[in-house]
């Protein structure tokens, strides 16, 4: 039987209330650390071209798939610690963990690398757990007890794949195989009772992260997983404008070839990159964080209106 709207929204109310508390705790956390909350455009003439992220078009512009480029333009202008909640849009992404419109929390700080950002993610998530009343960093998600005690185990992408799929994606890069085996082999092999931080992605999957000084085969990129949920993606940000422009150009060509979509080069961002200091940043999926703390099985249970209900 189809549930009607008042019933559905009544059922979700406890989760939506908790969601509001989580927003409040996040703002408190960053205020205490002297971060500035910013608000950048959702609709833009140019966004970061990414091979596997399809943006929605809006007139001749695009809806944000992430606020990343604007936030780095702020950093380049001298803003040192900034955070933002941003509605983000990605076409075709719908499932238990996805809705095409979702909420991203991003934060950046100058003078930091991905390792410090990972520590800050640990601080934030354990702080939220504490304020929500979870004792001793212990939560339960989908019948799995999880211990959030810091520090979280970090594992290189190479080791994770060698262990679960007997293959080294750094030595033998193959992004097609990477995506499939990640979902079918690597993710299911994570220790379920602890968060997992995957670090050092193959250089070809660097996106907007810098390559590791001393080991250009990998990028300083990290992904955080808790309870099987992919929660956050952190970088030591790439500040080399030539390298960034080259990566964008390759992505633009690939998108044109694969999807027939013409993506403009984000010129204003590239100009700002000339002034961007060393910095680290992260994008964290708020809906999934709320799922984790509400013990919700589906993203539908933590948003008021999904794509189908809009």
């Amino acid at each position: 039987m189809v549930e009607d709207e008042p019933q559905r929204l009544a059922r979700r109310k406890a989760n939506l209330r908790r969601r509001a508390f989580i927003y409040e705790y996040i703002r408190d956390f960053f205020k205490e650390r002297d971060f500035l909350e910013v608000d950048t455009p959702i609709r833009s003439p140019a966004i970061a071209p990414e091979e596997f992220i399809t943006p929605f078009e809006s007139e001749d512009w695009f809806l944000a798939a992430s606020p990343e480029l604007y936030m780095k333009r702020l950093l380049a202008a001298g803003y040192e610690k900034i955070f933002q909640f941003s509605h983000s849009f990605r076409k075709g992404e719908r499932g238990r963990w996805h809705n095409p419109e979702f909420t991203m929390l991003e934060w950046y700080r100058t003078g930091a690398d991905y390792s410090q950002i990972i520590s800050e993610i640990e601080d934030l998530i354990t702080a939220i757990a504490g304020r929500l009343g979870f004792k001793n960093n212990k939560i339960e998600y989908q019948h799995q007890a999880i211990d959030l005690k810091k520090p979280w185990p970090r594992m290189t992408v190479r080791d994770a794949f060698l262990k679960a799929a007997a293959w080294d994606p750094v030595a033998e890069p193959d992004s097609l195989r990477f995506d499939t085996e990640f979902v079918t082999k690597v993710l299911p092999a994570f220790t379920p009772e602890r968060p997992t931080v995957l670090i050092d992605y193959p250089a070809s999957m660097a996106s907007l992260a810098r390559l590791k000084p001393g080991n250009p085969l990998v990028a300083e990129r990290a992904e955080v997983f808790i309870g099987g949920l992919e929660l956050a993606n952190a970088y030591s940000e790439l500040t080399d404008v030539k390298e960034q422009e080259q990566r964008f150009r390759e992505a633009i060509e690939e998108i044109q070839k694969e999807r027939g979509q013409t993506m403009p080069m984000p010129q204003k961002f590239l100009q700002a990159l000339l002034r961007l200091p060393e910095c680290g940043g992260v994008a964290l999926g708020i809906d999934r964080l709320v799922m984790l703390f509400c013990n919700a099985d589906s993203i539908d249970d933590v948003m008021a209106f999904t794509e189908e209900e809009a």
């Binding site: 596997f52 992404e93 499932g95 238990r96 996805h98 995506d179 979902v183 999957m205 992919e230």
Partner: protein
Amino acid sequence: MEIEDVKKNTKIIVDGVLYNIEEVDFTKPGKGRSIYRLRLKNMRDGGVVDRTYRSGERVDEARLDTEDEQYLYREGDNYIFMDTRTFEQHSVPEKLLGIKKNFLKEGMEVVMLMHGDEPIDVNLPITIDLKVIETEVSTKTATITPQMKSSVVETGFRVDTPSFIKMGDVIKIDTRTGTYIERVSTGK
């Protein structure tokens, strides 16, 4: 069709075999491709398999047609139907019908789901009226509860009915569950 467009209950052909999609599990690692893990049910033998697809891949959607057909007769383990428009006959194996075989009356009209020339499913009306041909007079033996007793309808199907049901009565049965709903008329 594009893998992006598949939904639960889409029918697809994989390696020449017709499957119903029972579940679609969408994941997308990091900045990577969309991964679709499908749970597929073989529509001929009911076997279940899991298959993984990546964005950009295509699947072969099964073209299904519906035909108005009439049930004619049973022949061993097969049930023979006739397309009321072309008069073409189709043989449907017993295992495809499941519980529905108990509610087929000669001459009855059904909607047949077809994949090419192959019958996939038979859709019956949700309820059907059938005549009771055998029932116990006494309510003291072989009854489920004091108010219910076992009766046999004209198709040979045994159903629990209230004790007031008599031979010759016509009763309404739910074809999805095989349960008694009500008495339609009393026999003479």
